[in-house]
């Protein structure tokens, strides 16, 4: 399917746009999506709530699923900590507290994907204090990548050392858990 705006590039984004009660199907490429405001990018120091409210106007109903109302009919989620409901979150585009992230967790991937170019998982800094196990996990992850590279490059002797290191860390992690 080609992009309905430029009729050049393939359409990679498909939305059902619900505006003023009427539904419209939108098929656009990423470039046009940005240019024509189908995808709004936030600017720093700017009221970001427009972005989020825009975002939810697209209610990400997959095409082919004509029953777009299922989303709305599901039971209202509410954060036990700050009492914010998912509807409120959608309206203001901000979380009320850290617990909101857990409460709404199942519904957040589409939001994050859209805002962060398809990403839903953190890959950065870990707090030094709470990190304990996390730091070890992260270290194992990077050692495993190194191990893979070493094996590909047939540096088996070095690979064996790295493998032992991984084993050692994993043993320690298990010990911590017990």
């Amino acid at each position: 399917m080609e992009c309905q705006e430029c009729q050049e590039r393939p359409a990679t984004l498909h939305f059902t746009q619900v505006m003023n009660g009427t539904k419209k199907e939108v098929h656009v490429c990423e470039v046009c999506a940005k240019e024509k405001g189908y995808m709004t990018y936030p600017e720093e120091g700017y009221s970001l709530h427009n972005l989020l409210t825009d975002l939810f106007n697209f209610e990400s109903v997959p095409l082919g699923n004509t029953n777009g109302d299922t989303f709305r009919q599901t039971k209202e989620l509410q954060c036990p900590q700050c009492k914010m409901t998912f509807t409120e979150f959608k309206r203001i585009g901000k979380f009320g507290c850290a617990t909101c992230y857990h409460t709404f967790s199942d519904r957040l991937d589409p939001v994050f994907r859209r805002v962060h170019s398809g990403n839903t998982k953190h890959h950065g800094k870990i707090p030094t204090r709470k990190g304990g196990d996390l730091h070890a996990k992260k270290q194992v992850e990077s050692l495993k990548t190194e191990l893979k590279n070493l094996i590909e490059n047939e540096a088996f002797e070095k690979a064996a050392t790295v493998r032992d290191q991984i084993k050692e860390i994993e043993k320690q992690m298990r010990g911590d858990d017990a």
């Binding site: 470039v31 940005k34 240019e35 990018y41 936030p42 600017e43 720093e44 120091g45 970001l48 972005l51 989020l52 900590q81 700050c82 914010m84 203001i92 585009g93 901000k94 979380f95 009320g96 507290c97 850290a98 992230y101 857990h102 957040l108 939001v111 994050f112 805002v115 962060h116 170019s117 398809g118 990403n119 839903t120 998982k121 953190h122 890959h123 950065g124 800094k125 870990i126 707090p127 030094t128 204090r129 709470k130 996390l134």
Partner: protein
């Protein structure tokens, strides 16, 4: 350290040093958004909770020092006059948002103004670390160390999958906004920048003009920053930003030398006219001042104007903004009065150079 110092000087002490590539990159900044794990975010938190956070920062950090960042001043926003708030915003020490939500907001500012912590902004904690010129890596390293130092006493809201949890979904993950301020007169004059912006946006970076209304960049000063905070490490985000900034620097240098080669006289004319306006005008609006300052700074960088400090752009850009002018005059001024004072301050400042 007192509030008075922040008010009196237009340029922060750290700006007086030249960083790498400082003919084009004015400053580098890392901002980290953090929150307390147990408290609701400022948007909906109860007043008492925010007050408690504020008191915590005053108790734990006022007059404390960390590495080069000495003697933190604790400044509750509530106690500031409108002009004082405006000055802190114009110096980029606090955000407009913080100035607006004064009730329970505060800031910690180091003596050299290189670090400021905004308390109860959109998030409980926003750390800002500045470096002169193009030094993103250094800024990141120092911001991390400072972050670790705060973390010794603060239990951060953090989730294994989502990272640092923030009030707005656009900041979650690293909570980091890395940015550089660039003076790009040649790319702006030749219209090349507008053509480059879509490609830069494609890389998940945002270009915006500062010192102007809307998207217009008065004074040809632009901020380039990362858009995405989730899914990439801070180092990778900074590296991506850096590679774009490097290219922009190269393009700007090329565009400058092409301008000199192809339209040297017109360029010189433009620069000297601006210099003349700054040196002799009696009434000048901020837009015109910004334009002229950009041209004069370009003239200094190209060696056309000699014996004038390069810092003049940074300094006068801030000094001639409404908040600062009124702080200087020690009273509120009408727009006309500001234009007169602006012209006279610029003339005085140029006289100092002689």
């Amino acid at each position: 350290m007192t509030l008075q110092q922040f008010m009196n000087e237009a340029i922060s002490p750290w700006m007086r040093e030249d960083g790498p590539d400082s003919d084009i990159v004015l400053s580098s900044r890392i901002r980290l958004a953090r929150n307390f794990a147990e408290a609701s975010f400022p948007l909906i938190a109860k007043q008492e909770v925010l007050e408690e956070i504020k008191v915590f920062f005053q108790k734990e950090y006022e007059h404390q020092s960390f590495q080069d960042y000495q003697d933190f001043a604790f400044v509750p926003i509530r106690g500031l006059s409108p002009v004082e708030k405006r000055v802190l915003v114009e110096k980029h020490l606090i955000s407009p948002h913080l100035a607006k939500h004064a009730e329970s907001a505060a800031t910690l500012i180091s003596e050299n103004e290189q670090v400021s912590v905004m308390i109860n902004e959109e998030d409980h904690i926003r750390i800002q670390m500045y470096f002169p010129g193009f030094q993103l890596n250094k800024a990141l390293k120092k911001a991390f160390e400072f972050d670790d130092w705060l973390e010794e006493k603060v239990n951060y809201a953090f989730d294994e999958t989502r990272g640092y949890l923030t009030s707005c979904p656009t900041n979650v993950g690293t909570g980091m906004r890395a940015s550089v301020m660039m003076h790009l007169p040649a790319l702006a004059i030749t219209g090349q920048l507008n053509r480059m912006i879509p490609a830069i946006n494609q890389l998940g970076l945002v270009v915006r003009g500062i010192y102007g209304e809307g998207s217009e960049a008065v004074g040809n000063v632009f901020q380039i920053s990362n858009q995405i905070t989730l899914g990439k490490s801070e180092e990778d985000i900074v590296e991506d930003l850096q590679s774009v900034v490097k290219q922009l620097i190269e393009h700007e240098r090329k565009a400058r030398s092409r301008l000199v080669d192809q339209s040297g006289t017109q360029l010189e004319d433009r620069i000297y006219r601006s210099y003349g306006v700054l040196e002799y005008s009696r009434i000048i609006e901020s837009m015109e001042a910004a334009k002229c300052l950009s041209n004069v700074r370009l003239g200094i960088d190209l060696g056309i104007i000699k014996n004038v400090s390069r810092h003049i752009l940074n300094e006068l850009m801030i000094l001639t903004q409404p908040g600062f002018l009124q702080q200087y005059a020690k009273k509120t001024l009408t727009a006309n009065e500001r234009d007169v004072l602006r012209a006279s301050l610029i003339r005085e400042r140029l006289q100092l150079e002689k």
